[in-house]
């Protein structure tokens, strides 16, 4: 009995290692494909969404710089030959993240790419806004995320809000390439404000 248990443990372990290797294979390095003039400014004026390429003055204000040309970094130095991670895999020119399938042509995509994703995203981000805000969106990367056997086209963006009084907030996000829906955010601003009262809500009642 003990032997059987031990054997099944070894089998599980091996199985685990194979899955782990699979996962390590899916590790990918940052492609950092930078698009030319990829920042766009959005603003709500008289309830209409107005968009324009961000001006260099605006970009300075949010601490961003306009990228000049399409480039593929990183430049490899000699020592980076020692880099452990493998090169990222791509499909349709997009970097793949998640469990990579052997044959990408067989995979089921749950969305498609629409050119309007950025407009939809900006619409969503400005629709509930009471405070006067300028919104800046920069496309940073296009990827395909594979999870649960399905694939989804995603856009990696940098989102910056500039509020009246030069208060600003920025973060990065993965956005659905069809609907503009935000799926995950990271790198959010950390404020060390002094003498600012925390926003609090009085409940409307109890249940």
């Amino acid at each position: 009995m003990k032997k059987i248990l031990f054997l099944s443990f070894i089998i599980m372990l091996l199985g685990g290692i194979i899955t782990l290797q699979d996962q390590i294979d899916s590790l990918i390095s940052d492609s950092q494909i930078i698009e030319e003039d990829s920042w766009t400014t959005y603003e709500k004026k008289e309830d209409k969404l107005v968009q324009s390429p961000s001006t260099s003055k605006e970009l300075k204000k949010i601490g961003a710089e306009q990228t000049k040309k399409k480039s593929l970094i990183p430049k490899r130095s000699l020592s980076s030959v020692q880099m452990k991670p493998k090169n990222y895999k791509t499909y349709q020119g997009r970097r793949i993240i998640g469990h990579i399938k052997k044959d990408m042509n067989d995979i089921n995509f749950i969305n498609k790419v629409e050119k309007t994703w950025k407009d939809k995203l900006s619409e969503k981000l400005l629709q509930h806004r009471d405070r006067q805000a300028k919104l800046f969106i920069k496309s940073e990367n296009s990827v395909i995320k594979i999870q649960n056997g399905s694939a989804r086209y995603l856009e990696q963006v940098n989102i910056t809000f500039l509020f009246k009084g030069d208060d600003s907030n920025s973060f990065k996000a993965f956005v659905d390439s069809e609907t503009g829906e935000i799926l995950n955010t990271w790198n959010r601003s950390i404020h060390d404000k002094v003498n600012v009262k925390a926003i609090k809500f009085t409940p409307d009642g109890t249940l």
């Binding site: 372990l13 685990g16 290692i17 782990l20 996962q23 390590i24 899916s26 990918i28 390095s29 950092q32 300075k60 204000k61 949010i62 601490g63 130095s77 980076s80 880099m83 991670p85 970097r95 469990h99 749950i110 969305n111 995203l121 969503k124 981000l125 629709q127 509930h128 009471d130 405070r131 805000a133 990827v143 990696q156 940098n158 989102i159 910056t160 009084g165 208060d167 907030n169 920025s170 973060f171 996000a173 609907t179 799926l183 955010t185 990271w186 790198n187 959010r188 950390i190 060390d192 002094v194 003498n195 600012v196 925390a198 926003i199 609090k200 809500f201 409940p203 009642g205 109890t206 249940l207």
Partner: protein
């Protein structure tokens, strides 16, 4: 008199950091007499102070303030508009051998940091690369910022190189322990954010704010609201603190950046949480590390002088209340001092900066223990370097999205796996005072308690000594050091160091079952926020900060259905805060209410491709929900624990990705059938009322949360602490005050407009807290930590069922 805040007595108010002031007043002339005069002839100190111009410095040099103006003048009541030149020393500081304030970093990062006046102004240039400007000029402010930042970056990289040598430099044997520092960190620029330039605005156009923006990789140092010429960049401790945030981010993502992962982990996700508090404590410690001689106080000028918001880093600081000192029984301990603002000790405040004081004080105490002449006898530099090694190791492991935790580990050692690591870091196993203390302890133990490399005065730093120090801060919250990690197959097979329980004198661990709904008669189950303007403003703030993503397209913009009737109505976005109670006799802290999907359904249609749609609720978690007569899954034939994926007694190993397993949302619905009513899945209810899948909150691609969907990012709530035999409201509000909630206390739910009024839902939340006796360990495995996959299930949590009926 109540325990806690209201019993604090303020020490007699004294000038901030008097000891520090005196020390510096004594040291200043000494520093000047040590002058290795590289200055030109014309340098002198006059009534107007040092003449600080290019004639008085060598190429590449300038002058910066050696500390903040309060410390340098010794005047705690210093007024704005003073002559900064008076505070400069004759000695010169190296700034940069360049015409611009731009720094080069190791491994040939051409421009890793640069300083400008503000967001709108280009870099100014100094054609002779001399950096001496009148103290009250904008140029000086930029040089001051650059000089301090540059020193901090050099120190950080120097420490990192030393740590890399300490671990990977042990050729040919490799690291003496499984370090989280990547072997190829430097060639991959994991010691920075790739080759990015940290742009810093010394005179940033914001008021009463200093900020680190990781997405833009910028630091913004603002000014005082009242006094325009009081600049945050005049206070070196604030500059160090802001860089401390950058340092946290680099350390957290050291492994992610080295591997080139796109997504990053953050230290803190809510307005208030323990990870964010740890981040603030660490940023304060970065200031302590950079001041020499060490100054255990931060922000006397920028934060304290006009806003009374400076922070001590040691218990004997005069700003602290009476009763705190550096004795074991009088430390600034967790969770007693979690809501303690030394500037206003009578007023409890749930704020990351003040909660973080516990971490900064602990790390300062650890440093001083390393320096203690009767023990390790290290220099300040060496002691702070060692503490930084432990901090960087801990953050690099805990923030690892590759789920390895070390180049030498297998995937799953930490944060489950690469697909779900971020879910672990954000929700299922966020960094808290327990996990951070445990990681620090593990690293102190393996670096300082290594007989092969005796680093403490020729000996080792004793494990009991470490545990007693942690305990004096209430931080001995863990039972083992968890060296074997949390991987499914390996997480219980390594040898772990166990905590010596006799060292746990002050730290109190509470059984999870003592967290419950307020049992008092008439107490409500939850507070509800559904007024339109309140919820609109909440969503506005949450989405602008990036905490939450998009609303469902089923929820109308402008939230017209939010009616403020304190009920859950169709079409609303609703905030709820559970009325939780601590039934123990000790303070309970870091209470987390999770509303994300978990493994509590037995799926029936597993023969079909995913997503599975048909299934029954598991009643195997001790919450007696639902009864088998109310639609619970049949588990009579199951082993417990089970090895069959799909069973209720089997916890998914990969958060629902494997065959036969799938997570389910927290909310279920009451479905009336001919003979009885039962609890069923939202999908089953959708079919019963024949609602088109496309009308579900997540659209037709996922109908599992068709009617009630938790707003991602606001799908957890945190309560800093709950007093003994009290509810959260009683713990946070002053007597007589009504309770108000901050963003971190509220879970937001989207309510489908298609719900027929009268429909009843039950949401099964998972709750736990940081000083929990039985939320993190498995006593069957020598008190070893739970394996990561177990946090997809219900065992490690106290389940709280919340029922409500949707009405118009």
């Amino acid at each position: 008199m109540k325990k806690g805040f209201f019993s604090f007595n303020k020490k007699k108010k004294q000038p901030a950091s008097l000891a520090g002031l005196m020390l510096l007043t004594l040291l200043l002339p000494l520093l000047e007499s040590c002058l290795t005069n590289t200055a030109e002839k014309s340098t002198r100190r006059s009534q107007q102070g040092v003449i600080n111009n290019s004639n008085t410095v060598a190429t590449g040099f300038g002058r910066i303030l050696q500390d903040n103006p309060i410390i340098l003048t010794g005047n705690p009541n210093l007024n704005p508009g003073f002559n900064i030149d008076m505070l400069l020393q004759l000695d010169q500081d190296f700034i940069v051998n360049d015409q611009f304030l731009s720094k080069t970093c190791i491994n040939n990062i051409a421009s890793c940091m640069s300083v400008t006046a503000d967001q709108n102004t280009p870099q100014f240039n100094s054609s002779d690369a001399k950096w001496a400007y009148p103290g009250n000029s904008l140029e000086f402010l930029q040089v001051n910022t650059f000089g301090h930042l540059s020193k901090t970056i050099d120190r950080f990289h120097e420490d990192l190189q030393d740590l890399h040598t300490l671990t990977w430099g042990n050729i040919p044997f490799g690291p003496t322990y499984n370090t989280a520092i990547p072997e190829f960190i430097f060639p991959n620029n994991g010691h920075w954010m790739g080759t990015s330039n940290l742009k810093t605005f010394a005179n940033c156009d914001v008021i009463n704010d200093a900020r680190f923006d990781p997405a833009a990789f910028t630091i913004c140092l603002g000014r005082d609201l009242e006094f325009d010429d009081v600049k945050f960049a005049q206070d070196n401790t604030v500059i160090y603190h802001e860089f401390g945030h950058a340092l946290n981010m680099i350390a957290m993502n050291m492994r992610n950046n080295t591997l080139g992962l796109i997504e990053k982990s953050d230290l803190g996700y809510l307005f208030y949480d323990e990870a964010g508090s740890i981040g603030e404590g660490l940023a304060d410690y970065a200031s302590y590390m950079m001041t020499y001689p060490q100054r255990p106080h931060i922000g006397e000028w920028a934060l304290g002088r006009f806003n009374l918001q400076s922070r001590p880093l040691r218990e004997d600081d005069p700003l602290h209340v009476a009763g705190l000192d550096t004795e074991d029984d009088s430390r600034l301990s967790y969770p007693q001092y979690l809501l303690y603002d030394p500037n206003q000790p009578e007023k409890p405040i749930e704020d990351v900066h003040y909660a973080g004081q516990i971490i900064s004080h602990f790390l300062v105490a650890l440093t001083e223990d390393f320096m203690s002449s009767s023990y390790c006898g290290m220099t300040q530099k060496l002691a702070t370097s060692y503490v930084m090694y432990m901090v960087v190791e801990s953050l690099a492991e805990l923030g690892d999205i590759s789920a390895l935790g070390s180049d030498n580990n297998t995937v799953g050692y930490v944060n489950l796996n690469q697909v779900h690591a971020l879910e672990w870091i954000k929700n299922n196993k966020p960094i808290n005072f327990r996990s951070f203390s445990q990681a620090i302890a593990k690293n102190v133990n393996r670096i300082m308690n290594d007989f092969g490399n005796p680093r403490c005065a020729g000996g080792v730093y004793n494990k009991d000594r470490l545990e007693r120090l942690l305990d004096s801060y209430g931080l001995l919250l863990f039972k083992n050091y968890n060296e074997d990690g949390n991987q499914e197959f390996l997480g219980h097979v390594g040898g772990n160091n166990l905590v010596n329980d006799t060292n746990r004198l002050k730290t109190v661990l509470i059984p999870k079952d003592l967290l419950m709904y307020d049992p008092n008669s008439g107490a409500s189950k939850a507070f509800i926020i559904d007024g339109r303007s309140n919820v609109k403003s909440a969503y506005d703030n949450l989405s602008a900060s990036g905490q939450v993503g998009s609303l469902s397209s089923q929820i109308e913009a402008d939230l017209p259905f939010n009616n403020g009737n304190a009920r859950v109505s169709p079409g609303e976005l609703v905030g709820i805060s559970l009325n939780l109670y601590n039934d123990s006799n000790s303070e309970m802290a870091g209470i987390q209410i999770l509303a994300n999907d978990w493994d509590h359904v037995k799926w029936d249609d597993t023969a079909l491709p995913k997503p599975y749609k048909k299934g029954k609720l598991c009643n195997t978690f001790g919450d007696n929900f639902p009864l088998s007569s109310e639609g619970a899954a049949d588990t009579s034939a199951e082993a417990n624990p089970s090895l069959n994926a799909g069973d209720c007694n089997y916890i998914t190993r990969d958060n629902g990705d494997q065959l036969n397993e799938q997570l389910a949302p927290v909310c279920f619905v009451e479905i009336s059938e001919a003979s009885a009513t039962k609890w069923g899945l939202q999908e089953e209810f959708r079919e019963s009322i024949a609602l088109e899948p496309s009308n579900c909150l997540s659209g037709s691609s996922d109908t599992r949360d068709c009617f009630i969907r938790m707003l991602k990012g606001a799908d957890q709530a945190i309560y800093s602490k709950i007093n003994p035999k009290a509810n959260y409201g009683q713990s946070i509000a002053l007597p007589g005050q009504t309770i108000n909630f901050s963003f971190s206390n509220i879970i937001f739910m989207e309510i489908s407009p298609w719900i027929p009024p009268g429909t009843t839902f039950n949401c099964r939340f998972r709750t736990r807290f940081s000083n929990c006796e039985d939320c993190y360990n498995n006593d069957n495995f020598s008190k070893d930590d739970h394996l990561d996959y177990e946090f997809s299930g219900g065992e490690a949590f106290k389940l709280i069922n919340f029922q409500f009926t949707v009405i118009d």
